[in-house]
Every structure is written in C-alpha cells, then in structure tokens.
Symmetry: D2
Subunit: 387 residues, 4 copies
C-alpha cells in the first residue's frame, strides 16, 4: 500500500478483515506499506498490521513479496505509481478519482490494458458500490423492479469548509487534488449513479463555485484533512461546490450536486431514482437502509418502504451479523478487498475498471468545461468497451 492517511487506514482495515469474515480463495497478506516519512510510516505499519515499511514507492512496487499495489495517495501521483506498478507486474487497486486529468487516466487505462494481457488486474476504489444497499439497488434496477428510469437525483453534501478559518490543505489545491468537491465527492456520485442505473451520462450542464477564495495556510505539512493554521493566507484553487444537470443514455434526466458547504450535512450522499414501475432512495448517513416504492402495488397501500439491508440474502450480508445488526462505513473496504481477491483468484476483470475510472474522469472534465462555457450542455463520448 502506498499512503497511510484516512484512506490508508480504511483500506488496511479492509485487507485485514476480509479473510476473517468471508470465505476467500486467497488470503490477503499485508506485506509492506509506503510513505515518505520513515518514522511515520513505520508507526503506520505497526498500527495497521503491515509486515514492512518503505519510504520509496518504487522500492515497494519492486518487492517480490508484493503482488498487489494499493494506491491511497492524493490524485496527482496516481498515474505515475499505477503505471509503474502495472509495468512492474503487479495488480493495482487505485483510489478514486482515478487521476486528476483525462490524459493521465487515458495513460493509466492503456497501461492497464497492456497489463491485462499479462494477466494483471486493475481496479478503481469507488468503494460506495460496495455499500450493500447500493449493490442491492443495482440488482433491483437490473431485475426491472423500477422499470425504465426517468429521473436520477444525486447529491453528495458535506460541510467541513463552511468555517472560513478551515486551513488550506492539499485537497484545496488544484495541483494536488485536481479539483475540489467535484473530484472528491462528484466522482463518487457520478460513478455510483452510473453503476446503479447501469447507464452512462451522455452530457452535462454545470455551475461551479468557490465561496471562500482565501484560507489560512497550514503551519507545517499539509498531509491529511486538517492541521494547525498559520497566520498567512493562500488561494483556494479548486471548487467548493459543483452542480450539474445531465442526461443518461437510457433517457433519464439527472441532477447532481457535490458540495462541502452544506451546513449540517456530514456525509449526505443521497441518490434517488424514479422509474416507471417504482423508485429507490438512499442516504449514506443511513447506509443500512434502502427505500423502495413499488408502483405495481395498489395505490391505497403503496408507499416508500424502508428496507433494512441486513438480511442474509442481501449482497455481502450472509457473512456478517443477524438481521438488524448494521454495518458501517469501513465495511465497504472489506467488501472491496473481498471482491478484488475473488477477481484475482479467478482471473476475471474486476469492476470498476480503469476504463470506468476514465469515463468518470471524462464526465468531470465535461463538468468543468461546461462551467467554463456559460453552462453550455457538453456531450460526453460513450465509453468504448475496451476491457
């Protein structure tokens, strides 16, 4: 694993736990973790259960005891590390967004395709696909439970930037983060909406905004989400919020909103689909629940029902606890590890692929382009099915 901050901790929990809960064909072994600060990375290795620590990711990807490289760094280093790891013959799991630009993502996809020919796998870490309620939603859509979809309505609302004194971390700098709420939150909801509906976005019209353009500079290193502020101020170079409407290939109208200024909303990834036969609604703040309206029932007793997604027949749930004993956020990483291990063992291409990651990147680029062009509707080329 490269990187050991928030995502590093979450992924480690996934790798450590997957084989304890699920029957896996291969057992993950936590070989080595990598970070630039030798002391800090050794502490992370001890804390999270990695057998070794490295300070140079090039050394890590060349270790013989490493078969899979899990990339948990900021987006600006994804392309370089992922391509090198694939060239070094490793499988790769790369955190989302796949890259900071379409060009990088294209290069990554090419590397992944070359590697696929050698039997190596590459996957993007859109972990919310592994929320059981979201996997169930996809199943239900695929099974025709809501019929043809007319509306897709998705938001990802957080509020950690409302305070103007929140400091200028790497996530607020374009050179490291690529974009702001758009790449961080918007990438999740674009992927998730396309995954659950099984359809791609064909075009978008967008507005973006940076509400607070100057923030306190961090005193020291900018690693992590937070840190002590210094007396100076610097420019915020990414968006605070991005709103876009769009159309799906299946004919649905869509509305997206990603923001870090939705005061009081902590992690409100909300998705609603309205179809001709029913509707689905989800809120990540209540991740064990999926709401379902079945339009085929008599109107007098129909309504949105709260499915508690904790039954043994629900995705991933058979291995966990009895009904009603809910899961949490980090379980998505356990499920991600499980699915990737199965893919590696069976040699089948995992999803979301780098092609999926590139396609999301193209949507994000179209959002930025539309926002720059007076919100003009901007088409997104259909992703060729290459993998």
């Amino acid at each position: 694993m490269v990187g050991y901050a928030f995502m590093g901790a979450a992924h480690s929990q996934g790798w450590r736990t997957a084989g304890r809960v699920f029957d896996l064909p291969l057992q993950p072994r936590l070989a080595a973790i990598c970070g630039r600060d030798a002391t800090a990375v050794q502490a992370a290795a001890d804390r999270h259960g990695w057998a070794a620590a490295e300070t140079d990711w090039r050394a890590l990807i060349n270790r013989d005891d490493v078969q899979l490289v899990d990339i948990c760094t900021p987006g600006d280093s994804h392309a370089e590390i992922a391509i090198a790891a694939l060239e070094a013959g490793k499988h790769v799991l790369c955190e989302k967004p796949l890259a900071n630009t379409v060009e990088e993502a294209e290069a990554m996809l090419e590397a992944a395709e070359r590697a696929a020919a050698r039997g190596q796998l590459a996957m993007v870490g859109f972990n919310y696909r592994r929320v059981p309620a979201m996997a169930l939603a996809r199943q239900m859509v695929a099974d025709g439970r809501i019929g043809a979809i007319h509306h897709v309505r998705v938001t990802y609302l957080q509020d950690w930037l409302v305070d103007p004194e929140f400091p200028l971390t790497w996530r607020l700098e374009r050179e490291h983060a690529g974009s702001g709420a758009l790449g961080d939150l918007g990438a999740h909801i674009v992927d998730l909406a396309q995954y659950v509906t099984g359809s791609q976005i064909t075009g978008v019209s967008a507005l973006t905004e940076t509400f607070i353009r100057e923030r306190p500079l961090l005193a020291g290193s900018s690693a992590g989400l937070s840190g002590a502020a210094s007396g100076e101020r610097g420019q915020v170079t990414v968006d605070d919020a991005a709103l876009f409407t769009g159309r799906f290939a299946n004919g649905a109208l869509a509305s997206f909103e990603a923001t870090r200024f939705a005061t009081g909303r902590k992690n409100a990834l909300r998705l609603e689909l309205n179809g001709e036969k029913g509707s689905l609604a989800f809120d990540l703040e209540r991740l064990n629940e999926l709401e379902f309206h079945d339009q085929t029932l008599p109107a007098g007793t129909a309504g949105f029902r709260r499915i508690l997604v904790t039954e043994p027949e629900h995705p991933y749930l058979e291995a966990w606890w009895p009904p009603g004993h809910g899961l949490g956020y980090e379980h998505t990483f356990v499920h991600q590890a499980r699915d990737l291990v199965h893919a590696i063992a069976s040699g089948t291409a995992p999803a979301p692929s780098f092609a999926d990651g590139l396609q999301v990147q193209r949507v994000l680029a179209a959002v930025e382009e539309s926002a720059a062009k007076n919100s003009a509707f901007t088409a997104i080329p259909a992703q060729e099915a290459r993998t």
Copy 2:
C-alpha cells in the same frame, strides 16, 4: 370567484373559514361564483356557499356586490379577466402562475399599477408562502439564523403522469397551461425559494423533457385534472419535467427540479437552504414540520432538529389548535384570505404582488429559453421595484 374546480373549492374553503378562525377587520362575503356551465356552477355555488352564480365572468366583475374577484381559472384566461376586473374597479386575487407569458404578465402588472393608484389591490395566489413552516423559515432567514446562504435546493415532485394512459387534459396543452411541470410546479418553487431567501434568481441553466409525447384524448370536456379517455391520442405540448440550476443575487447556488414523473412522490415540494450559520429543510408532504440545523451550537450536540410548527408563537398558529395538532393543505387558503383581507382593510399593498408574479414568469421564460439554447446560462433582469 371565477372557476370552481380544485382551486375554486380550496379558495372557497379559505374565504368561508378565515373569519371563523381569525379576528378580521372585514368579513368576507361569498357573493357570486362564475362558470360556463349554468347547472354546474349553480351546484358549485350551493356546495361551496356562494350566494349567487354567474355564467359570464364579465357579468360577475360588474356586479355591485362584488369588491374582490378571485380568479381560479387556467392560466390562459388570467390576463383578460384580471385586467378587466381591475378596470372594473375590483380588487383581484389571481391564481398562480400569474399568466402564461411574460407579455401577459407585464400587461397585468400595468393594469395593477393603474388600479393601485385608485386604491385597488392585486395579489397572486402563491399559497405556499402561507404554510406556517415557510413563513417561519422566512422569518428565521430574515433574523439571520442561518447567515449568508450558500445553497438553495428545491424540488417539487409529483407522479401523476407516470402512467402513459393518463389522458391529455388541459394541463398538458400549451395553449391552455402555458407550460407543464414548469408553470404548474416550477412557478411555486421559484416563488417560494425567492420568498424564503429574500433574494432573487439572477440566471438559470435548464433542461426540460417530455417523456411521453402522445396520450389518450379525453372523451368529452377537458375541464379538471382527470376524465375518461377516448380511443384517440393527441400530442402532449408541454414539459413533463424541468430541471434547472441557477444563481441568486445573494450569491447562493441553486438547484430546481419540477416533475410529474417522480414515481411515489405525491406532493414533495422540498426546500433546503444551507447558510454559514445553519440550515433549513422542509417537505410539503410533512407540512407541519421545519427542520433547522443551528451551526452556532457545539458540534457534539448539534443536528437537524424537527420543529413542529404548531406553537402559538408560530405564524398563523395562535388562532388554531394546541401544539401538535397539525394543519393541512387547505389552511394555506384560509391564511391567504386572512392576509388579503387585512391588506384591503388597511390599504397596504399585498404580497406576492403582480410584480412578484411577473418576476416569476421571467424566471420561467428564462428556463425555457435556456432549455432551447443548449442549456446556456440565461440571465434574468432584476425586477424593478415598482409596487
């Protein structure tokens, strides 16, 4: 009153009840109701408590015992009736949307201004301003409880057109209704969002869609929302759904959605405001509730709180029932009648004025223009404060 369908019944209930509940300076008297079908209008008069029935609105507006004309007809007749009533020296309450076009609305505003000089009042029936929770929200925004607003998020979701066999009523014909979900539902949320925030929309970027373009023709008259279908089909000439993003004069980003295809959502007018000091959220399907997040409280015990808007200190509530004994949809018309009677008695200009109605019409026109121009962001001129 002109018209006696859904809105006619609701307004009648308002006029009959206002003086029974509130202390009014003048008592409304239900003088005469007007409709084209003599038998039907007499039945409506008897049912709703009107002293007389007329079949020609020109006769109605010339009656000496009529001081106020309440227009509850489809939008295509608003301008003609309202202008004539004002010219005849009557006060006017006109259902929303004010008109089907900006031009008509402008003519109505001019007539209203001439009438104002004679002491006559003109008001538009945006009744949702009179939901106590919405009046409370406006107060709280005005009192600075949520500070500067960053996000406005509004939807008005209904589902009565999901069935492709729902017939082609007047609401689906551009010549009568002007537009579809946009004018019917979108007009409400545009007005409400501007009212609650106290700020105007300065521009929009829009997508509209008609999902089902042909529907069964009605066998007989097309009055009312429903009716028996005939074997033939006709063209739907209005939008089924309208999505738009926008900017407010106060700097907020906004998202709007009006649709009749949100399966399972019956009357989901939802509004959320995120400000620097707090947030407000509302759902018309639970109209006695207002959610409020107070960001100035310590984070450890903060959260969205459900205010049950049934306390005597809440707007309109002192005259009603004890706390927890909720109101319903029709109470908005009682409150509308109350407020207009107070305005007439005191000779003060009522809100929403025809100028407000015209401004909403301009937003709707900009939505249609943007949708026609590849979603290009379309500016809306600030409404000059003429009344």
Copy 3:
C-alpha cells in the same frame, strides 16, 4: 352545542364544513350554542356561525329548532346534560370521555337505550377514529393484512405540564376532570386501540403518578386550558401520567402510556400493531401517514412502508384534495359530523356508541383500581352487546 372552548371551536368547524365537502343526505344547521357567560357565548356564536346563543343548557335542549345536542363541556357535566337531552327527544353527540365515572356512564347508556327505542341516536366523540389513517388501519386489520395480532403498543405523549409553574386548571382537578392524563389521553388510546384491532381489552396492570403535586392557582375562572396564575398554590388531584400493560381478547399483549410530561412530544399519539402477517404503525404528529410492513413479501425487499393516506380510495379522502395534499387535526371533526349525519339520515346506530364509551370508562376504572392495588392485574368484564 353546549360549551365553546377548544372542543366547541373544533366541533363548530366540523358542522360548518361537512356539508361543503361531502354529499350529505341532511344539511347541518348551526341552531344555537350555549354557555354560562352571556357576552362570551354570544361572541362565540358570532365567531363560529351559530344562529342563536343560550346561557342555560336546559333552555337549549328544549328548543324546537334543535334536533341534535353536541356536548363539549368538561366531563363532570356530561351525564346530566346528555341524559336530559335524550329525555328531551334530541340526538346526542357527547365529547369523550363519556363520563367521569362508570356509574355515570352506565346511566347514560341506559338513557341512550331508552332513546334508541324512540329513534334517537347517541354517539361519543372519539374523533381519532376519523383520522383517515386510523380508519384505513382498521380496514387493513379487518381485511387480514396483518393477521392475528401479537402486540399492541400505544402511547399518547404530551408535555404541557413539565413546567411546574403551569397553573391548576380544571383539567388538573379530579372533581371536574375525573382523572388526568388517564381520562384525557388514555381514553383516546384505549378506544382507538380497541377500534383498530376490533378487539377488547380484558385486563390491565397499571402504574400512575403525579410528578408535581402543587401548582399555582388560577387568578380568576378556571375555564380553558390556561390562564393567568395567582400567587397561591393548590393540590393537583389527578394523575400526570398513567402506564399500563394489558391483554386483549384476541390474545395480544398490550402496552399503554398516557402522559403530559413527555418533554418535546406535543401530540404523540403513537400506535403500533404487530401481527403474524404484518405490522402497522402510526404517529398523530404525522397524521397523513400510516406505516405498513407486509410480512408476506420476500424478506429481501420487505420493510415498513410509508403510506401517504391521501389517495382517493382512502377513507374520507375522495371528497378532499389530490394525493399528497394532507389534512389536519380538525378534519376529524368534519368526518365525525359527516358520519353522524349519515347515521341520523339512515336511522342506523352510530359508532362509537355510548356502550363503547362505557366500556372505555370501565378500562379506565380498572387502570385506577390496579394502580391502587399494587399494580395487580385487574380484569375488565366483556362489554355486553346491548346497542
């Protein structure tokens, strides 16, 4: 009508509105209203639309233009007025609880039976049976949608006595109110639970409590819920809260709680039924909703669904507004008036009858007896079917 406070206003609204909304076989005429204070009762007559005012209820019940007497006074006068009105040949609607003691209720039932032989009707005002969601729940239970019932769970939570300075009104005096939360709130939930389940309570085990035993005396008259406090204090002679468990004739276990000390709960009449085939849940603070869990559906997509009880096929709803346009508290009185008018027109016995009211009184008496006897389980004789 006798009495013109909270209930008087609510009943007046019901009588005035029923014929405006529903097709009634007879039109209610608001003949005369009665109260002890001549000025106040005339003002009430004017406000609520009664043609005449009386200061002596004996005069009222002897008026020739009165066919129905609606009793909205405190419980200590119900028996005397109701019996006299029945003897005078009038139909009677009596607010709940039917009486303050079982003995009074028995005398009232006897009078009602004698009157029934003469074609007069007598009904008790358990208005919550007329919440559409509750009428729907009863239908669903009767239709077998939840099967045999195992659990009945009911609370009625209010909080208006939490403040120790709230004054000693008549509702806190045993001589006027009979009991406290028990008779006021407990009577509602006992009736409602028996109505919805279609089964009677066969025994109870109870705890009651008066948390605050002394309160400020009212300065002047004690009419109404509130009033200015004087400097002196008096004894609270009724319960603040009553909890009881019980058994139903159908085998269900039941839990009841009635309190005026549930801080933050304004009108939380909550009812949940768990049956072998499903469950129902209701909260009066969201009276347009009924939750239904259908156990016969596959577990993977089952869950409590929120039925918005605003569809035309729902009880009472065909006469009101389109789906999603909710009703309020007072509509129960419109429905009560409608149902009683139909009963009078057709000469059929209305429900809830005085026999039903007496049976509720017996449950309340058993609660008090159990509370006095160390919570011993106290049986309630099955109500003989006399009417």
Copy 4:
C-alpha cells in the same frame, strides 16, 4: 475465548481490531479459542485469528499464555466457567446475561470479589453501553442536559420467532437460556436504561407470554440460532415476550418491552428519556444517531434534533472516521475490548461489573416473579455497592 458462534465471531473482531484503531497500553493477543467440536473449533481459530484451539474449557483457563478468559457460551455455563477462570487467576469477560439465575450470579459476584482482591478484573458484556450514542446519552444525562427524569421508555423488538415453523433452538429452552426474550433482550434494555439514567430500577410489574408453545425440533445439534428442523415438535419453555412497567430510584416511571414477535422490527432497541429540561431518543437500527430535545431553547425553534454521533468529540469517535462516516454493530465489541484493556492496564474496576450483572439478574427475576403473581408490583432491593 470459550464459544465461537455469533458472539464468538463478534468478540474476535473486537479483540483483533481494538489495537489497530485505538492507542492501547497493552496489545491483545488472541491466544486460544475453545469449543467442544475439535474440527469446528480449529476452523474457528483459523477463521478468527486465534493462535490455538482447545476442546476443554478447563484446559483453556489453565493455559499460561492466557490472562483473560472471554466467555461467549450460552448462559447455563457462565457461572461454572467464570468462577473457575477467576479461581485460575484469569481476568474474565462474561457475555450477558451474567447467569441464568440470581443464585448463580451471586456466586459469580463472590468469586469476582475474591479475585478482585488478587488484582483480577471481571466484566459483563453489555456491549450496547459502547454504542457511541449511548455513551453520549449517559454523558448528557450526567451533565444535566435533560434534568430530572420523569419517563424511561424502552423496547427491544425483534421478529425472528413470528414464523411458527422456526425450530426449537437452545434459546427457546429454559434449561440452556434461562429465559426467552426476557434474558436475551430484556437484560440488554434493563442494563442500558440503568446505565444511561445512572439510576436503578426499584420495582416492576410484568406480563409475559409464549405465543407459540410448540415448535419443530432441530434435526441435529442445537448450536447456533438456527438449523434444519426435524419432523417432531417440542415444547417452548421460555417467554416469547415480556412487558413490564417499573419505577426508578430517581422517581421516573418506566416502560419496558422485550419481544421476538414484533413483525418487521429486526433489532429495534429503542430508548427514550423525558426529563424536565429535555429528552433523548435512540433506535439501535439507526445506531449512529441520537435524538435530543432541548427544552431550555425557545419553544418556537425547539424540536428533536438528530445528532449524528460521528464527531471526533463523541465517545470512541476520535479514533475512527471523519464525521458522517458511521459505525456498525460490531464496533461495540471493539470498544468493549478497548475499555477492558485500559482497565486491566490501569488496574481499575471495569464497568459493567459482575455486581451490575447480578443487579440486572435481580430485575429479571422480579419480572418473572411479578408475572407469576398476577402482575403484582415486585420490589428489587437496591444493589449494595460491593465492588
């Protein structure tokens, strides 16, 4: 650890993870796990990460590499194993309920007291105290945020016995389980209510019921919650549901319900406290949320607020994920492990102690006694503070 079914898996997850997330003064080492079936226990050891497997718990508690014995067996073996482990010089964590009878629990407490003198610790596994929302609730009560408490309202609703064909597992046999819903679910809510309020129950009045008295016998072993049914039937010898009212030492009235027949409720441990200054409400099906009503705020903007208990200042949360990224059921076992490790390292008595466990047992015994004595109110002696 002794036992490796549901609780064994959950506790293992706790022990494995605590040191990966929290800074612990000692690192837990998973030395050995014990079960009667050699093959099955070895598989469990491999799955859950235990270094060794034992088939005789006496061998386990005498291992030198074991310092703490975690007892996850059915209640009938708790006393024997716990006492022996304490006598063998080990710390003990014992799953709830502490024992199947008061006598066993008393003997366990005596053993714990003797062991305490030797520096050994004993704790009961009431894990729901470690739900962050419940720890926060206790803090808020202790801080006076809701003032003196008037009402305690607790239910624990499950539904896995509604199907009459569900087989007769050990949990339905008195000899193994001690009681039914009472000991399984009731024990949790008795402990939790006393913990959060900081007050003890002084007496109860109870009803219990076994709705289905015969069930299919299991074909083979009865380990676990489920299993294949055979053709024969056997007697259910425990309660399906237990309802009781009670009084707390602090003057509060309380209502408890534990049932396995609440159709559609999967794990609805719901707790509500109403105090003079506010209220708290919780539902285990939404375990990341705590509702709080603050009565000291102005009534016009007060209401139950949803605290998302995921802030770094919340109990246990600093070590986990960013705000809004919720935890699940199993995290309670991680927190339990953390707290016990801290207690062992510092030599301080952990809570809940065996004395706490005994006191809960006395409440359960009083419930059964009251149910057997016609629901007579049955006093519970105050727990002497011995540890």
